[in-house]
Symmetry: D2
Subunit: 316 residues, 4 copies
C-alpha cells in the first residue's frame, strides 16, 4: 500500500529583511506569530491549530526554502523516503524540533527542482490566554486579531519550466489528483490544478514559459470568507502601502482573489474566497482550452479566465 | 484493506403529497429537478454534477426511505456488503438504474435502524443547454436558477434513541471520524459530529431523549456562500409562506444556519454558511460540556451553542 | 419660513459606572473615544467626522440625559427656541463648548417628557495621525479600529406612554415625516417610524403600554455594511461576554439587526444593516396592521414583523 | 424662496435597437419593465415604487434624450421654469402622461448642453400580483426577479467639455451641493461629485478633455447591497456575454463598482455598493489632488483613486 499525503502544510520563505517581511505577513496581513527561534519566525492563520503554516527565515536574498506537506501517517514518512530514494532522489532527515513545533521530517528536491518537506507530527500550541477564543473549535478570538486576518492556508501556485514533468511526477509518485487543466491553442499545457487532500485545489502548477532556470513560487493563498473581506483586505493593503493585484475572480477554480506582496521580497499572498470543493472520487478533470472563453467573450470577462498579469515569482 | 466511504451522497425522502413537496424543494428552495421516473422526482443543487442529492417519492405518509453514501471505489460495495453480512445485517442489492442515474447499490438497516444505501457510480447529466453555465466547473448558470438556490449538499442530522451505539458503529464499521462532541452535565453524550469524507461534518448524531421508537432525520443541510444568503433565503421562505427557524450560528461546527420546512411533510432543510473544514489527520475531537458556555454567558449567546429548538423530525 | 432639523446627531447617556460602560461602547463595540472632559467621555463611530454621536456621563443611575438633533442652520436654533417657548416649553441655552466640541445649543423637554437638545455647529477633530485613514473621505483607518466597529449613528427607538401625542408633536412642531406605522387590531397605533432627515428612519416611536411613568430610550442604532458584519458583531459580543438579542430582520424598515447591551446600564445598541432610504417627497407612509403578516404566515416569519422581545429600556 | 430639487429621478435613453437594449437592461440586468407605450419601454428597479427610473426609446442611433430630476414640490416646476427663462433658457412644457406615469414636466438644455427634465408627480403602479412582495415597504418579491437585480437608481456620471461652467451652474441655479472634487496637478479641476438630494452623490461631473463637441453620459448607477452582489453581477454579465469593467473600489465616494454595457448602444450601467451618505449640513467638500495617492502608493492602489479606464460615453 502506498503512503499518502494529507494536505499542504506550510511554506518556508526566505527574506533578506525579516523585520520588513514580518511587518507585512504578521502586522498587515494578520498572520499570528507563534514563536521565533534560531532566526526564524513561525506564523499561522487565526483559525489554524497547527504550529505554523508559514515561516520566515533571514537569508542573503528572497527565496523559498521549502514547501511542507503533511503525510497521513507517521510511517508514511519512511515509506515515502524509501520510494523517493528508489527514484534516485536524495533524502535529508530532519530531527523532530529542528523546525519548531514539528516532528520528524524529510526534505528533498523533486525531479524538476522544487524543494519539498514531508512531516506528520505538528504541535498545536494554545494562543496566549488573553487572545484565545471561548469557542473550542477555533484558536484566536476574532476580536483580538487583525480585522482582515485570513483563516487558513489554502494553496500554492508554482511556476516550473518543466511543468508537465512535475505534474506527472506529482500524480505518479505523490498521488496528487487533477481537478482542472488549461491547454494552449497549440495543445501544450499551460496549467494544472491539483490536490494532495483531494478536496480543495492545493497546488496550481503553471508552465513557466519565460524562465529556463528553475521552478519558483508565484504565490501562497490563504482563505477569507466573503467578497467584502477581499475589499477590506485591499483597503488595508492600500492603507499600509503594500502592492496589490486584483480584485477579481478566476474561471479556473472560480476563486475570488486579491494578491498582495511583501515589500521586502515580492513574496505574494493571495486572499482567496469562494472556489469549490471536490468530494467526488469520480471527479473528471475540467478541461479548458485557450480561446474557449476569450474568443467569444468580451474583454471584460478576462477575470473569469484568471490569467494573472503580475509575473513576479520567487525562486527556491 | 478496509473499504472506505467517500461522502454523503443523497437523501431519499417520502411524501404523501409529491407536488406540494416538489413545490417546496424545487420551486422555493431552488433545487433542480433532473428527472422524474416511476413516481420519484430526482433533484440536485445547482453546483452539483452528480445526478441527484435528493429524491422525493410519493408514499402514504412522510418518511425517509434511505440516506445514500458514496463509496470510494466500485469494489468497496461488495467489500462493505460482505463486512455487513458478517455482522448479521441483511443486504439488498439494487440494480444499476433502479434508482435513476445511479449504478449498482446496496441497501440495509444499521444496527439502530437507520436506512442506508451505498453506491459508487452516479451519472453526471448535463443541464438543459439554455440553463447550462459557460463555466465548465459548474453546472447551471446562476442567472437561470432560483436566486436563493444553495450550491451542494452538506450534511444530515440524525436523531437516534440509541445514539451512542450508532456512533460507535459508524466509527468502527464505516470509518467515520469524530470532529466534535457534546456531553451533558451527567456525562452522557448528547451529540456527535462526524464525517465520512473527513473534511466537513457530514453527519450529526443526536441522542433522541424523547423518542423510544426509532431513529429519524432532523434535517438535511445544503450550502450557501454568505450570511446575506441566509437572510435572502429567509426572506424567500417568508414570501412563499414556509416555516423557518433561525437565523443563527451554532457554537458546535460554527455553522451559520437557517432552517425551513416542507409544508407537506415537515422535512427540514438547512441553509448553511460558514463552518470549517478538517484536513488534519491528527485532528483532536472538540469536546463540549453542558454549561461550558451557557452558565457563564448571557442568554443571548444561546445561538453559539446551537441547541435547536424545533424538534420535529421525520422517521424512516 | 420654519426652521428645519438636519438629522439625528447624538445620544447623551448616563451610567453609574463609566468605566464599565466605556469598556462596552468603546472597547467591545468599537466606538472611538474622541475626548474626555468633566467626567464625560465623548465617542464617535469610525466613519464620522463630527466630534461625537454618543456621550457617557457618570450619574447615580443609568439614564438618558438628552438626544441631540442638528439644525440645518445656526439661525434655526433661535427660531426653534422661539417656537417652543410659544408652546410654553422652557428652553435652556447651552454655551458653545459646554458640551465638548459643540457650538451653542438649546435643551428642553418635549410635551411628553423626552429630553432633546438642538445644535448646529460641531467640531470635526482629526483622529490621531497614526490611526487616520489615507482616504480623505473617511476618518479612521479600518485596519486600526475594532474589527466590528459600526460606521455611523443611524436611529433611536423611543418608548413613550403617550406615543401618539409625541408623534403628532414631532410632525407638527419639528417637521418629522412618517415613513411607516403599525396599528393594532383595535385600531390603536403601536409604532411610528419617522425621520428628521427625510432620508432614513431616525426615530421609531413605540407606544409603551406597560409604562405609565415617562418615556424611555429602547436603543440607539449604528450602521454596519453586511449581514456577515452582524454575525461578526454577535461573535464579538459572545467572546466579550455581553448580552445580545437577534440576529434577525424586521419587516418594518427591513432592517437587519443585532442588539447588544452595556452590562453596566442595559443601554442597548443596535448593529443595523440593510433597510432602505426615502428620497421621494411624495412618499406614502407604509401602513401595517396587526395580523397582516402573523395571521397568514408561519411563526418563523416573526422576525419579519420586528416585534422586539426584549423590553428593557432606559429612562431619561 | 428658491425652488428645490428632491433627487435624481430617471434617465431617458435612446437606442437603435430597442429589443437588444431591453434584453440587456431588463433580462440581463434585471430592471423591471413597467409599461411600453409609443415605442418607449419604461423600467424601474425592484425596490422602486415610482413608475420608472429608466426609459428606452428607439432612435436612429444611441443617445440620451434627457436626465429627469424630481422637484420637491409641484409649484417648484413653474418656479424653476421662470428662473431658467430669466437666464434665457428655452423651456418646453410636457403634459402629464406624455411621459408615461409622469405628471406635468419641463424640459430644457442646460447652458453647456445637457438635456434635463424636471417633474414632481410620478405614479406608483403596483407590480403584477403574482410578483408583488408581501412586504409593504418594497415592490417586487425578490424570489420573482432576476437574482442580480439592483435595488434603486443611485447616480449619473456626466462628461462635459465645459465641466466647470456646468458645475457652477448646477450649484448656483439648481442648488446642488459638492461632496468631493479632484484637481489635476496643474490646478485644473478634473471631476466634481455633487448631489441634488444632499444625501448621496447623484451627479459626478467629469471634465471631458478629449471631447470638444458636447456633454455626454458616461454611466448611470444602480445600487446593490454587498460586494458579493458585484461578483454575482459580473458572473451574470459573463454568462450573458456582456462587456464589463471592474470590479473595483473608487477612492472618491468609496463606491465599490462593476460597469456593464448594453451591446446595442454602449450605454453603461454601474452596479454600485458601499459609498457613504451625507446628512451633515456643514459637510466640507473632500479635496483630492492628482498625485496624492498615486505618487506615494503602489500601482495596485489605482482602484482606490477611481480613474475609469473605459472612456466610451453616449451623447445627448
Amino acid at each position: 500500500m502506498s503512503p499518502e499525503l494529507a494536505r499542504l502544510g506550510h511554506v518556508a520563505l526566505e527574506t533578506p529583511n525579516i523585520d520588513e517581511s514580518a511587518a507585512f505577513f504578521r502586522d498587515a496581513v494578520g498572520l499570528e506569530e507563534v514563536t521565533r527561534s534560531d532566526g526564524t519566525i513561525y506564523l499561522r492563520a487565526v483559525d489554524e491549530f497547527d504550529h505554523h503554516s508559514m515561516s520566515l527565515t533571514e537569508a542573503d536574498s528572497e527565496g523559498v526554502d521549502h514547501i511542507g506537506w503533511q503525510t497521513k501517517t507517521e510511517t508514511g514518512l519512511s515509506e515515502f523516503a524509501s520510494q523517493l530514494e528508489d527514484q534516485g532522489i536524495d533524502i535529508t532527515w530532519i530531527d523532530a524540533g529542528e523546525e519548531a513545533g514539528q516532528g520528524k521530517a524529510i526534505r528533498f528536491s523533486t525531479p524538476t527542482g522544487n524543494e519539498f518537506e514531508f512531516y506528520h507530527e505538528m504541535e498545536k500550541p494554545d494562543p496566549p490566554e488573553e487572545r484565545r477564543s471561548k469557542l473550542k473549535n477555533r484558536t484566536y478570538s476574532p476580536t483580538k486579531t487583525n480585522p482582515i486576518a485570513p483563516s487558513r492556508i489554502d494553496h500554492v501556485q508554482i511556476w516550473d519550466p518543466d511543468a508537465n514533468k512535475f505534474v506527472e511526477w506529482l500524480k505518479e509518485t505523490l498521488g496528487f489528483r487533477v481537478h482542472e487543466y488549461y491547454d494552449r491553442r497549440d495543445g501544450s499545457r499551460w496549467g494544472t490544478w491539483m490536490s494532495a487532500s483531494e478536496t480543495k485545489i492545493e497546488a496550481a502548477i503553471i508552465d513557466d514559459e519565460e524562465q529556463e532556470k528553475s521552478p519558483a513560487l508565484h504565490h501562497v493563498a490563504y482563505k477569507v470568507e466573503t467578497a467584502n473581506d477581499l475589499f477590506d483586505a485591499k483597503d488595508a493593503m492600500n492603507e499600509e502601502g503594500y502592492t496589490t493585484d486584483g480584485i477579481g475572480q478566476h474561471s479556473i477554480s472560480r476563486g475570488k482573489f486579491l494578491y498582495a506582496r511583501d515589500s521586502a521580497t515580492n513574496h505574494r499572498i493571495e486572499f482567496n474566497s469562494g472556489s469549490y470543493l471536490v468530494f467526488d472520487p469520480n471527479w473528471e478533470p475540467i478541461a479548458w482550452q485557450e480561446g474557449y472563453l476569450e474568443d467569444e467573450d468580451p474583454p471584460g470577462s478576462r477575470q473569469w479566465v484568471g490569467q494573472i498579469e503580475s509575473k513576479e515569482r520567487v525562486f527556491y
